[in-house]
Symmetry: C2
Subunit: 192 residues, 2 copies
């Protein structure tokens, strides 16, 4: 006998399919029909869970964000109690950068979503709140507590992500740039 | 009597239409037919100049890049002879940021293209060369000549562009973050 359908599970199945389509072929290939085929369900089923492409996109991004948060939490947990501020920031940012195959797939979806929200600013409300919260947190960890320096560090992280996905920077170049920035913010490693 | 068709002019007319479609409705709305309608020409005409969407995208990006270069050249020319390195970098980066309506439209196209190349890395060859050249130039202007610091500054610029387009940062916040970064790289204004 079929058990009760787990709606959250099915939404996630469909969102995963969307992300595979977006990661393989780009956002412009994402359609209800294409996602249904990839998920192995009917187009009607997809429409039952997501009335519009916007809804589906927003849900996919929320899945990506949730996974990022889990990665950050796990990486920070591995640092043990009371890590040094510089190491804490480096660990968080490295966990958010698209440095391996998994995070690259998520990064492509996030970048596609950013390009999407650039023409539909209302879809970016959640992003704005997330960025504001992260800026305040980073500022609280910096020696200067400077909000503009924190905003700059987050922008640097975002730009490194874009350049990693586009192949302009290698993983090594991106991490070197991150370390150079932390040198500027915290003083060189010898004094940190 | 109709004069000889100016092919470059017609390609630019079509690329402009593509950019209006991409800026208004996002990259996924860009199709040969849609662009033809916007440009007021036939779909066959568009196909005569651009065999594929990839070709059309690459040409549109080259138009955006050309316009950026003109903006940078003009802004630098206004500085007069031998500007201070810090002022030179600030002027170049500010000219490249999407701070007004015109540059925002171009920025949306560039961001859409970045999302596009993240799934088609071969399309990004030109971008990679451009970024490498710009990194070398920025390093030559920095007091430390440090390539990683230069790579970080460019990533920060790219991230500021993304956050400006998504509305996460206001123009003022983005310029404050840029100035904070230049303080870090050149010392505070009092010592610059």
């Amino acid at each position: 006998m079929p058990k009760k359908v787990d709606h959250q599970q099915r939404r996630t199945l469909i969102a995963d399919a969307l992300m595979r389509v977006a990661a393989d072929q780009g956002l412009e290939a994402v359609s209800l029909r294409h996602v249904a085929t990839e998920a192995g369900v009917s187009a009607g089923m997809v429409q039952h869970y997501f009335r519009t492409k916007d809804e589906m996109m927003a849900f996919a991004l929320s899945v990506v964000r949730e996974r990022s948060q889990i990665r950050v939490t796990e990486a920070v947990a591995r640092l043990g109690e009371a890590p040094a501020p510089r190491l804490l920031l480096r660990t968080i940012i490295a966990a958010l950068l698209p440095l391996d195959a998994h995070t690259r797939d998520d990064g492509r979806v996030a970048l596609a979503f950013l390009a999407y929200t650039a023409v539909r600013p209302t879809a970016a409300t959640g992003l704005r709140e997330g960025t504001a919260q992260l800026t305040a947190f980073v500022a609280s960890v910096l020696p200067t507590n400077d909000v503009s320096a924190a905003a700059g560090l987050l922008a640097l992280m975002e730009g490194l992500g874009v350049y990693l996905l586009g192949g302009q920077y290698t993983a090594e170049q991106a991490l070197d740039a991150l370390d150079a920035q932390l040198d500027l913010l915290f003083g060189t490693p010898a004094t940190a």
